[in-house]
């Protein structure tokens, strides 16, 4: 249809370029992956996804190495965000399960409530109230929203933040936390950096 559009088609060297790029960038990529502490099996997914995107967008990327390193870094950040989300979900499910266990003796139940209250007492008043409604009274999200005066549309987000705070508290400083409001295209301070 147009000469410039047609000109982008002939890339017999594309496969070789992609492989060479992966090989030449490997030390930097490994450094990124190590700094972000991504296990190899997950690193493979990240790398493969980035390389496939690069394959499809090769014509649009003018500096493939910068693009690849930047993309892998970003995917590592997203990986940890997702991990944190899963971890919070696991903690939430575990607490709900523990509370719901029918065969737990009274003493154990009291100890659990006591331990839970101790952890919750270290959270902000808002999170404490929300999680007490969730775990103590067994309220669902809509009931929590009504009780605390939140919009039902925003309660999920608020609950997730409180669960993240609870998980942080449980694990002390056991996982990296991106500051609130960090944009997708921004670097996350505090995250491990490529050396």
């Amino acid at each position: 249809m147009t000469s410039s559009a047609m000109a982008t088609l002939d890339h017999p060297e594309l496969r070789e370029s992609l492989n060479n790029l992966l090989r030449s960038s490997r030390p930097r990529l490994e450094r990124v992956l190590r700094n972000f502490e991504v296990p190899p099996e997950d690193a493979e997914d990240i790398l493969q996804d980035a390389q496939l995107t690069l394959l499809y967008k090769w014509d649009k990327v003018r500096s493939p190495e910068s693009w690849l390193i930047g993309t892998v870094k970003k995917k590592c950040i997203m990986y940890w965000r997702k991990r944190r989300g899963s971890l919070c979900e696991a903690v939430d499910t575990a607490i709900l399960d523990l509370i719901a266990l029918p065969q737990a003796p009274d003493q154990e139940r009291t100890e659990l409530t006591c331990d839970l209250n101790r952890v919750l007492s270290k959270l902000s008043a808002r999170c404490r109230s929300l999680l007490k409604l969730r775990y103590g009274l067994g309220y669902g999200p809509t009931e929590v929203a009504e009780q605390m005066g939140y919009q039902t549309s925003s309660i999920r987000k608020v609950t997730n933040r409180c669960l993240a705070a609870l998980t942080r508290q449980l694990l002390a400083v056991g996982f990296h936390v991106a500051p609130e409001g960090v944009g997708e295209d921004d670097h996350v301070p505090g995250e491990p950096q490529d050396g």
Binding site: M1, T2, S4, A5, M6, T8, L9, L14, R15, N19, L22, L29, R34, E37, P39, P40, D42, A43, E44, L47, Q48, Q51, L52, T53, L55, Y56, K57, K60, V61, R62, S63, E65, S66, W67, G70, T71, K74, M78, R83, S86, L87, A90, V91, A94, I95, D97, L98, L101, Q103, A104, E108, D115, V119, L171, A172, V173, G174, F175, E184, D185
Partner: protein
């Protein structure tokens, strides 16, 4: 079960903690770990204080992962190479068909539903945006239709969303060029939503922002447009993409011109031209050079404009686009007029007008006549001026133009009838028409 977790021993093993942290543990095991942590175990909290302290994390070996990725990409590359080769063929096949037939082919045949073909179509839109905006709009719709039908399993859902976002942004840009700003806003909205579900590729976002900035500029929302362009430049720097940085500067230069900041516009266009790769987007370079020449001419720097025009002439000719060549003649006429070479100016302007009229571009021809009007006013050629006014006024009146432009038209009309048009009257009409957003004039409507 609960008792079991309390009797689990003093601490969960590092392996169990690791699996818990990485989401690889069972629900039952998770419960054990969480119950233990609720006890406030400082030892385990310290153990999970950063995954690398866990033994497994320190022994990460990525060699096998790199090997497997290389093989996986090689496999996919083969399919993609075939697809790209076919895409070129499909593009030739479809290009000769009328629009309605193209639509049928694309919607009914799975052969057209490939990434490679979709990208080629969307790239073609950029070309048509310069030359044939309605065609660009149609092509963008085709591209969008294909992007929506791409196999998510094959290409990856996030990547498909990237391409769908690109298709919506391309459509929005075509709508913007055709002055349908409301439709463009909506299409950009769709593009933005899809980008959020995409891969997060910063270059994809930059493409969207660049086009959105153009829309904002055309809506006179200059500060917003410049903010978007700042983001594009930041992305370009981070990705080491000088060409993109140059494109952002050129767009900024176009918009600065629209915002009546001629000096800034010239400076930005120069800077942008210094960064873009001329081989990659020759039309963009010609458009930027053209606006630079026009800016210099309008600032009275005719000699500079002429020198730049001579330097750029081979580029116009190499591109061979007839509209560009007409614009070249027009601007040469303007420069000659500025240099008081009135005979040459008249010949060039008449030549450009005749070419525009031949192509049925009456409105552009009428705009060019304002330059002829300047020439006639300078020479006091009242009769020619009257004829010119009779010819162009209905064309302007048929267009949606601002109140000030209508007033300036009436003044011009009366003065022409009385053969008393002055340079000031022509300038006022020209300025008020430029103010009116419906008037792209000799300036390139940037269609990046």
């Amino acid at each position: 079960m609960y008792q079991e977790s309390r009797k689990m021993g003093d601490h969960p093993s590092s392996g169990l903690l690791f699996d818990f942290l990485f989401g690889r543990s069972t629900r039952h095991r998770n419960r054990q770990v969480v119950r233990h942590l609720l006890d406030g175990c400082a030892v385990c909290a310290a153990a999970v204080d950063g995954v690398p302290s866990l033994p497994r994390a320190q022994t990460f070996d990525y060699a096998a992962a790199f090997g497997r990725v290389e093989r996986a990409v090689e496999e996919r590359h083969h399919d993609f190479a075939v697809e790209r080769a076919e895409a070129a063929e499909r593009l030739r096949e479809i290009a000769v068909q009328p629009f309605y037939r193209q639509w049928i082919m694309v919607t009914e045949s799975a052969h057209f539903r490939t990434w490679g073909f979709c990208v080629l179509l969307l790239d073609a839109c950029r070309e048509w945006g310069f030359q044939d905006p309605p065609r660009a709009l149609h092509t963008a719709r085709l591209g969008l239709e294909i992007a929506d039908r791409l196999d998510r399993e094959r290409y990856g859902a996030a990547r498909v969303n990237d391409l769908r976002a690109r298709a919506w942004a391309t459509l929005a840009n075509a709508e913007r060029i055709l002055n349908d700003f409301r439709a463009a806003e909506k299409s950009f909205g769709r593009a933005e939503r899809l980008l959020k579900e995409g891969t997060g590729d910063p270059l994809e976002a930059a493409f969207y922002l660049l086009l959105k900035a153009s829309l904002c500029g055309h809506q006179q929302r200059f500060s917003e447009a410049f903010r978007l362009l700042d983001r594009v430049q930041r992305t370009a720097r981070r990705c080491g993409d000088l060409h993109l940085c140059g494109k952002a500067l050129i767009t900024r230069g176009f918009l600065a011109g629209m915002a009546h900041e001629p000096e800034l516009s010239l400076q930005l266009l120069r800077e942008g031209l210094g960064l873009v790769d001329p081989g990659a987007e020759p039309r963009l370079v010609v458009a930027a050079c053209h606006n630079l020449i026009l800016g210099l001419t309008e600032s009275g720097r005719h000699q500079e404009a002429r020198e730049l025009l001579e330097d750029s002439r081979p580029l116009y000719q190499r591109l061979g686009d007839s509209m560009n060549l007409i614009r070249l003649t027009w601007i040469e006429g303007k420069i000659a007029l500025g240099c008081a070479e009135l005979g040459r100016a008249e010949a060039l302007l008449l030549e450009a007008r005749s070419e525009l009229t031949e192509r049925g571009l009456a409105y552009d021809a009428a705009l060019l006549c304002l330059d002829l009007a300047r020439l006639y006013a300078r020479q006091g050629r009242g009769a020619e001026m009257r004829r010119l006014a009779e010819e162009i006024l209905p064309i302007f009146q048929a267009r949606e133009i601002g109140r000030e432009a209508v007033s300036a038209l009436i003044v011009f009309q009366k003065a022409a009838a009385m053969e008393t048009v002055t340079l000031g009257i022509v300038q006022e009409l020209s300025d008020s028409l430029q103010e009116s957003r419906a008037v792209p004039g000799l300036r390139f409507r940037e269609s990046l």
